[in-house]
Each structure stands twice: as C-alpha cells, then as structure tokens.
Symmetry: C2
Subunit: 324 residues, 2 copies
C-alpha cells in the first residue's frame, strides 16, 4: 500500500503539502491541489478521514439536538455553535428532534458507535435512562442527574430582574405566566426568581401555569382572563417573549393596553430588529456566550478532560422595549 | 474475522435482529440491543457505517450551505430539509458560509472525497469554476451554468403579482426597492416581473437599487428619499420582507404613512405569527415545498438518476397583511 511519501514524490511536492491537501487546508494553490489529488488517485492512496476513522474510531462531527431550528432562539444558538465548532475543525450535524425521543436516541447510538464525536443538546424529553455515563455530551438549559454538564443562562436572576424592573415601572399587582414541564428544566427557575423578588418586595403575586406544550393559545388566555383578579394585574412576567407577545395580543380583546394598563416583560430577546412592534421589554439570553461555552466544554470532554458537573449559568441582562 | 452470523449466535438472536441493531432501527428491545452490542464487542465485529463507508465509499450525510441559519427564511428552509432528509435516512451537516467561498469550497472537497453524499446550497458566491460536473448538488435560488439543477420559487410571477396587488390597492406611481448582486440570482426576476407588470398596466415606475450587501440602511434610504419623485411614490414592492419593513420604518421620518400614503408589498413571508406589527403584505415563498423538492432531486442524483438541468420554479402566493 502506498504512503504519504509516495504521493508527495509522484506529485512533485513536499509531504507537508500533501498533508495540507488531505486536511483540506485552504493554503494550497488549486493547481497544486489538483496534482496531489491526481497522485492520490493514481496510487489508490486512501487519505480521507473515513480511513482514519476506521482505524482510530474518531469523528469530527458533533450532533446538535434541538426541538426545532425554526425557532429564532434556537437558530441563533445554532449559528454560534456552528461558528465555534468550525474554528476548531468540527462539523455540525443538525437534528430537529421535535421532542421525539426516538430521533434523539438515534444520535446517542451514533455517539456510542463513534460516528459522532459528541452531542450538544436541548431536550425536554426524559432520555437520561438511555444515556451512558462518560460520553461527550453537553446539555443546554436542561439538567441530567448523571454526569452531563449543563450550560444555561442565569434564569433565576433573570426572574428576579424581571420582577424588579416591573416594580420600578410602577407594578404592584404582578403575575407570572408560564407552563409546567414534566421534567425539571432550568427555565423553571425564572418563576422562582420572580416569586422570590416579589416576596422580598412584599407584593402579592399571581402564578398562572398550564401543562407544556400549550396547544391552544385561545384556551390558555381564555382561562387566564376568566378570573377577575387576573384581569386586574398591572404587570406580567411571561416565561418567553412569545408568551409575552401572545398575552399582549389577547389582552387587547379585554380592553387592556400595554404598557398603559399593564407592563410586560418577556424572556429570550428574540427580536433582533426594532422594525416590528411591540418591541418587547425582555430578559435577554446571552445566546452567543451560551453557544461558545457549550462547544468549548464539549471539545474539552472529547479531548479527555475531566467533566465538571457544575451547571454553568451565564449572566442575563434586562433590555428595555416598548412594553414597560 | 467474525461475521453477522457469529454475532447472532453468540447473542442468541436471529441475524435480522443483529442487522436491525446495526442499522439503528428503533424496533429492537433495549435488552436485546444490549445483548447484540455485547456480542459485537466480544467478537470485535466491525458493524458500523464507518466500516461500510470504508469499503463502499458512501456517506449518509448531506451538507447544507446557507449564508446564515439565523435568517428566519433559511431556518425554516433548514427545518424542512432536515425533516425530508431524515425520512430517507440521511443526516444534515449545517454550514453557515456567511458568503465566504473558502468555507463553501471545503464542503465541495468533502463531496469529492465521498465524505458527504451530496450538497444542497444557497450561495451568492461565484464558485462555479471550482465545481466538478456530475456530483450531487442542488442549488436553491441560484443558477450555475454547469449541470447543477436549481429549485426556486417563481420569482418572476411573484414580481408580477406584487405589482398587480399594488395596482388593485390603488397604486399608480410604484417603485421597486432592491439590491444588485454581482452573480445572477433567481431573485433578480422579482424586479423583472414587477417591471413587466407595470408596463403592461401602462404605469411609470421607479427602480431603486444599490450593490449587495447593503451595509448601512440609513444611507440606503437616505439616498432613496433624497429625490423628490421617490418620496412621491404611492406604492413600494421591496425585494424582501426585511427591506419592506426597513422602508416602512424609515418612511415615518418623512411623514409617510403605510398604508395610507404608500402601499407596501414584500417578498418571503417570514412572519409566522400575527403578533408583531406591521403584518406585511407579501409574496409568500413556498418554503416547505422548495425544501422537500430540493431534497428529492438531490437524492435522485445520489441514486444515479440523470440530472435535469431545468430550473424548477414553485408557485408563490400573495398573502395580504396590514400594508396594502
């Protein structure tokens, strides 16, 4: 079987150049690359990563599991994850799991067979019983009891900040609008922060939740507005920006104006322009930093570093808009 | 070297079950799967696709090149492409090329080395000189002169419909707002449709374009509004929804109200809710059908079917909003 040196000799270049061609480095001139590729073909040399994978059982693919890339928060996250992986020579496989455990498990199988080097995941499924320990996985927004590190935004402090900003805007009868998931998610801490801050301010508050996923917005808000005291709140902290926007839309039907009658704060910061209204006052998630931190953590694991079980919580900020 | 039958015997299952485990089919019970995997390990059997790739030089990965997944049109497209690929057992590698040719070329290299089975691409770079013929590529929205099929929406008819809808809304002094790209793109036909329809209606019209990419919106619209006759148009067809929204935002500074003074139609249909305003009147791209058609075309090519050079143009529809 021919080797790197044979290829270099036939192509009339140095071994380093052949290596650069094999590793797809852009610094090789097209003509030189062509000569090298021709020599590789002629000698039937097997240069590519498939051969290397075969021997070394390594992959440069990282799988990203998302409920849906269509969601603007997730597409921003995917953008930065791909960018950070690309810097390190890794490629991103995208999986819209749509909350389907079977589809997610497929990628964990790939991982256990070394077809992917690691998995980054946002999942709301209870798949932990299917996970091996000590495989390279980093979770985003979701705890596992086993040894999976988690990167998330500081949801708890975000909840406190939201309540404090509502208070500063004059709110004295606040409500939290959210959903209940069956599995513990870091996003639940938004509610906890809201409650703790409301209590420390000595305010009465309302918590309104229905089981996730909410299939019928009209029903959710119909139930909410049915009760008089809920129609009389003067401030709303919604678990996501989308919920905040839906509340504002539905509140109009009851003659409730935002921000005149009710101040509203969302969570995420999905609006990336000021072209569409209302521009939500919101707790902005540090999406770019969450993405890059997750990738670095995963690549450290792939490189064999010890896994820290600590959850990394990245600070959030209040971004004022038109709704407070 | 041990074979499938050895594994089946040691695991105490049928050969079909081993095959199902190897092919990651979900129909195998976890306990059975464990037994099979243990047998594979004990016999050092090489079951996975890396080995198969090594022999057959095939991959089940498809690369998707996008300028940026962060863009809502592209993230919707990626969502449906992943869904269609998944149905056929293919996985999606995501590449945000950000308009960088070097990053795109990397994936064409992977393609030529059989590390990916095919490439789906939206690119505005002039990379055709680097393309081999007869490799599985399907382009979206972009023509190549070589044998690359293209799937796109019917941009020309979209332009005509936009102008006709403006006319129906009372517009008599229409303007087209767009950008000029250096390489031919199907999106240029939006302007052509607009012009042809305006002429067939016997209307004078304005075409306003600056080179792509527009780095400074204030300057773009500052230049546009500088000229009096442009401030006096009563209808605007913008090349994208984002452009339409920017026009509406900037026009306010000149006391121009939409839709009272100027009717506006965009192109794309990126707004997927009615929660944020203005809700744009727009030509909706058939994103799901574009995605699924592209995938089917690519998989046909991968399977060895003859490549049709015809551009597939999928019908578009007008979606009324608050701006006409």
């Amino acid at each position: 079987m021919s080797n790197l040196k044979d290829v270099a000799e036939l192509a009339g270049v140095g071994v380093g150049t052949v290596s650069r061609v094999i590793n797809n480095q852009p610094s090789v001139k097209p003509k030189t690359r062509e000569k090298v590729l021709a020599a590789i073909k002629q000698l039937n040399y097997v240069p590519n990563e498939i051969a290397r994978n075969f021997k070394m059982q390594k992959s440069n693919l990282v799988a990203l599991l998302l409920p849906s890339i269509w969601n603007p928060f997730f597409s921003e996250l995917a953008y930065y994850i791909e960018d950070e992986l690309d810097r390190e020579g890794y490629k991103l496989i995208l999986c819209n799991s749509g909350g389907k455990p079977a589809k997610e498990l497929y990628y964990f199988d790939m991982l256990s067979q070394n077809k992917v080097a690691g998995v980054l995941g946002i999942t709301y499924n209870d798949i932990e019983s299917s996970l091996d320990t000590e495989i390279p996985i980093v979770s985003i927004d979701r705890h596992f009891s086993k040894s999976v590190p988690c990167v998330t935004s500081d949801n708890y402090t975000g909840g406190r900040i939201a309540m404090r900003e509502l208070y500063k805007a004059g709110v004295r009868k606040p409500a939290f609008l959210g959903v209940v998931t069956s599995v513990f998610s870091e996003t639940m801490l938004r509610k906890k922060g809201f409650i703790d801050e409301a209590e420390s301010l000595g305010l009465d508050y309302i918590v309104y939740e229905e089981p996730d996923p909410v299939m019928d917005d009209l029903k959710y808000f119909g139930n909410f507005f049915k009760v008089r005291e809920r129609r009389e709140v003067d401030g709303v902290f919604a678990i996501t920006d989308l919920f905040a926007a839906k509340y504002i839309d539905q509140a109009q039907k009851y003659g409730i104006r935002v921000p005149q009658d009710v101040k509203v704060v969302g969570f995420d910061g999905i609006q990336d322009s000021t072209l569409f209204h209302p521009i939500l006052s919101t707790i902005r998630q540090p999406v770019e930093e969450m993405a890059r931190t997750s990738v670095r953590l995963l690549l450290n694991q792939i490189a064999g570093a010890a896994v820290s079980l600590e959850t990394i919580r990245i600070p959030v900020q209040f971004r004022p808009g038109e709704t407070t």
